[in-house]
Structure formats: structure tokens, C-alpha cells
Amino acid sequence: MHVPDGMINLPVSAAAGVVAAGAVAASLRGARRELGSGPLAEGHGAERTAPLAGLVAAFIFAVQMLNFPVAAGTSGHLLGGALAAILVGPYTGVLCIAVVLLMQGILFADGGLTALGVNITVMGVVTVIVSYGIFRGLLRVLPRKRRSVTVSAFVAALVSVPAAAAAFTLLYAIGGTTDIPIGKVLTAMVGVHVLIGIGEAAITALTVGAVIAVRPDLVHGARGLAAPLKLRVDGELVDAPAPAAGPAVPVAARSPRGLLAAGLGTALLLAGVVSFYASANPDGLEKVAADKGIDKEVEEHAAADSPLADYGVKDISNARLSGGLAGMIGVGATVVVGSGIFYVVHRRRTTNAPGSSGPSASASASAEQA
């Protein structure tokens, strides 16, 4: 999905660049808090940002090389936006994806330099905000169990991919250099990306599930589920921040529950429809394979050489335009995306009110229930 130079006109690219720069600037500040507010990082937020975000960026970079076979020799790989947001938090997630994209653009010419803002906005900011919003929202609605975390991760990742496609289509509608009927583009983009999203969702959920089984404290989006204190052999000193007097969940925060339930319902229905489609039409999964993994040989040569020296062509032609998919899918996905964005905005407003930091407030709130 890396947008090349010349696909989106300059004014819109510049505007997207401003959005991306703003998001990165906000994330630089926010990441400091995220990485500093962990269960064992008292006061080291600023110093921890570079090494931790750098390592997570390297992880995202590497995991994009981990190949997931789909069927008969085809395979896909992870895009990682939702995964990063859930594992390390939205701010750090945006930072990591932005750095990965920056490096891919400069080192591998993957994604145009003038389109860097577009790429960061679409693949970093939109995926992270949408997936994290949905993830947190679902966690609040679902019972407090580990399974809920994986389910939420699944849905969040599932929606984040078509959301990015929809965002790209929007940018293309405003600043595309060629007039393609936008309705057609949207349908095709979102439709194809729902299918891609299934792969992304399954892998994200499995990965989050694997992390939460071993180190639940590392899953930023689910800190509330872990015991508040953790032994860490090589961690640093924390003054046991007892779950003292966490601000009670604001009443307002509960209100989007109905909305979220509706969103969840839609997403599940969507997943059902799509999987029906996929099983009824064997081409479906193959299309995912073609879109997500032209790189069936990447595994071999990634194993043969260092990733920096050797970079496979990935996620080919996500923009492949084929009208075969039902418009309903597109519409459904956009509804979910819309409600996700609404929820994030809403939540930001409500959690910023109690003070210090959003994640820890909700973490301590949930610790009370646990």
C-alpha cells in the first residue's frame, strides 16, 4: 500500500504531510508518557523512548518479513499498525510505524518521498487510531478475560486495514491525479482490504495472545488485566504504585457502550459475510494471498540475507481494482470505521479529563474490578 510519488497531487500530499508531522509531534510527547507510565518505568519515560520505540520499530520491520502461508504456496505478512498500537500503545505505535515508513522510503525507495506524509497518515495514524479505539472500546464492553483481549485485537486489526484503505480513497478523492470514479475505488479498495484485514486480524490476535500468555504486563492495551505489580529481573525500581484511589470510571465513559455493541455486531456480521464469501468463492483467499503476499519467496531469501541488505517486494497492488465484491461490505466497513473514529475522539475527551494519563487511569479502574 506504499503510495508512490505522483499518485496524489502536491497540495494534498503537503496537507497529509502536515497531518503526519502533527501526529508524530504529538506522539513524541505521548510516547514519553506511555513508555514512562508502564508498571516498571517510573520517571524514565523520556530516556526510554528511543531504545524501546527503536526496538519495537525494528520488531515491526522484522515481523513484516515473517511469512504466513495462506494456501498452496502463497503467503502473506503482517502490516503491523494494529499490532503496534495494542502492544505498545497508540503514541508509540504511530512513532514506530512512522519511523519504519521513513526508513523504507529513504533506504528502499518503498513509498515516494513526497508521499511520505500520505503514507504515514494512512498506514500509521489511521490504522493506529482506529484499531486502538476499537480495541479499548471492546475491552470495556467485553468480560475481563484474556480471551476478550484476543477477540478485541482481532476485531481492531480487522477493521484497521479497510479503514486505512478508506482513508487512502478519501485522499485520492481529494487529490488523486487521475479521476477514477470514487465509488468504484472505495468499493474495491475497502472490499479487498476487508479480506486482507482477516489475515491481519488473525495474526495480530494470535501474536497478542502469545504475548499476553507470557508477559501480560507488556501488552499496553490490556494493562488493566495484569496484576498491578510484576517482578522483573532486569527491570528498574518502581515505588510500588498501589492501585490507590484510581479515579472511578467516569459515567460518561460508559455511554458509548451501545454504540460499540452495534459496531461490534457490524464487524462480526461483516466477518461472517466475508468468510462466507471466502468459502463460497475459493478465489477469495487466493486474492488475499495475491494482495498480501506476492512475496512467497521472501521467506527463503530473508533467511539468506540480512533484511537491510535485502528487501522483498511486498503487498503488491492492494489497490487492485476489481468490482467483484459486494458494495455492502464496503458500506459496512465504513460504518464500523466511522464509529471507531467517533469512539476514539469521544474517549480522548473523557479520559483526558481525569488527568495524568489515560492508560493508567483505566488500568487502575479495571484493577479495582479485577
Partner: protein
């Protein structure tokens, strides 16, 4: 022991519990004189790493005190303490985080404000001490494991520390690299505290050893004597390699 004041390292009644309540140290007392080479032995989970992280103020003592060359480890002294205490971590990849060997070795001194020719001289001196001067412009991940360990030692030497703390220095080294590192360490004119499971290495390099077990110093004495005390060793889950007899090894 306490011949010349002040000692490089003085730990008094150090106790520490992790935030979850798990207590790792139960009153450690340890004095290391200037220029001494001391081996810190102990089974897994004895609190060795916890103790090491107190020495440069990454952990803050729950009770008791740590003093480095007369300067207490406390928040206001942290910058100076971290210059004086050089820790070489077990995995050199963790320690070598800069893009080239030269920049990595320069990192510590540059953080404390050194610039230009003085900085360069410091880097060259440190790399020469570990025999890695000609690798200055290489990226660390292109070096062999033994070379990376040596560069890790250089990164710390460049800060001209009062005391060098090594966490498992011989782990993962082939015999030749192991011996080369031993030669380097022996040639250094600096206080050394060496955390290790490698008992022959401890005997080879450190005249004195202490055993940390269950959060306290359980024994303190000449390395050869401790290693020869089968009962003491067994009580603290320390085992000599098959066929190794500390009493028969000539001291260096």
C-alpha cells in the same frame, strides 16, 4: 583488606525488595579495596544482578548504603556515580547500541561532556587497551562475539571508571577469546568486580571471591580456599567443572 582509604566500593547493610514484595537482598555487606579483583559467585536467583544494578544507582537501596570511592550512590550524584562505575553487561549486543564501534566507545565520555581531540584520544586509548583499535569504524554487528565483548569492555574503560563490574564476562566465548579477555582484564589497572558462574575463570583472575546466596554474602575469602571447600560450595549450589581441582592449579 581496608588498606588504602577510601575503598573503591563499600556496600553496607543493603536490602532491597522488588515492588511486588519479592525481596532479593537481605543486608549485603561488601568492601572492595582499590585495585582489587573480586569474583562475585552465587547460584541463579541469588540476587547478583540485583546487587550489580545497585552499584550505579539503577536500583535505589531500600535499606543500607552503597558508596563508590567515598561518594554515596544517591540521586544527586548519579551522573558521577555512573562515570565511576562501569558495568559490562552480559549480552554485548545490548551494550553496543551505536552504529559504529567508535561512536559507541565515545558515547559515555561524550555524554559527560568530552569533545574533539580529547574525546578521540580517549576512544583510541580504550580501544587499544582491548586490542580493537583497528575496528573503530566497523558496525558492531559485523564483529565476532568475542570482539563485541571486548568492545563492550572498551566502552566502559573509555569512561575511566573507578571500578569495572563485569556480568558473566566469559559466557559464550570460545577458549581463545576467553583467554584473550583474561589477558586484557589482568593488564588493566582498575578495580574489578566480576559476577560469574565460571569458577575456573574466577580462580584465574580474582585472588578474592565472595559468595552471594539468598540475598546475603555467605562467604568471603581467597578464591582458592572457597573453591576448595566442597561443603561450602555444595551448600550454595556451586559446582566445579568435572576434573577441575582448584588446589592443584598454579596461581598466576
Amino acid at each position: 583488606m581496608n588498606t588504602q582509604p577510601p575503598p573503591s566500593l563499600e556496600v553496607r547493610g543493603l536490602a532491597y525488595a522488588y515492588p511486588d514484595g519479592h525481596q532479593a537482598l537481605f543486608g549485603v555487606d561488601l568492601t572492595v579495596g582499590r585495585g582489587e579483583r573480586v569474583a562475585l559467585l552465587g547460584p541463579n536467583g541469588a540476587g547478583k544482578t540485583t546487587l550489580v544494578l545497585h552499584l550505579n544507582g539503577i536500583h535505589t537501596a531500600g535499606a543500607g548504603s552503597v558508596t563508590v570511592a567515598g561518594l554515596p550512590v544517591a540521586k544527586r550524584n548519579l551522573a558521577e556515580i555512573r562515570r565511576r562505575v562501569g558495568i559490562v553487561f552480559q549480552d554485548p549486543d545490548d551494550q553496543l547500541f551505536m552504529p559504529t564501534v567508535r561512536e559507541d566507545v565515545a558515547f559515555g565520555p561524550a555524554t559527560s561532556g568530552l569533545r574533539g581531540a580529547e574525546l578521540e584520544a580517549r576512544v583510541v586509548a580504550a580501544l587499544t587497551q582491548v586490542g580493537m583499535a583497528e575496528y573503530a569504524d566497523r558496525p558492531p554487528h559485523h564483529l565476532s562475539f568475542g570482539q563485541r565483548r571486548r568492545v563492550a569492555v572498551a566502552t566502559v574503560l573509555a569512561m575511566e571508571p573507578e571500578i569495572l563490574v563485569l556480568d558473566e564476562p566469559s559466557s559464550n566465548l570460545d577458549p581463545a577469546s576467553r583467554r584473550e579477555l583474561a589477558d586484557i582484564l589482568r593488564a588493566l589497572d582498575v578495580t574489578v568486580l566480576m559476577v560469574t558462574h565460571d569458577l575456573p575463570y574466577a580462580l584465574e583472575l580474582c585472588p578474592r571471591a565472595v559468595i552471594l546466596s539468598e540475598g546475603v554474602i555467605a562467604a568471603d575469602g581467597p578464591t582458592r580456599k572457597l573453591l576448595g571447600d566442597a561443603e561450602l560450595m555444595g551448600a550454595h549450589r556451586l559446582e566445579l567443572p568435572f576434573g577441575f581441582d582448584p588446589t592443584s592449579v598454579a596461581s598466576r
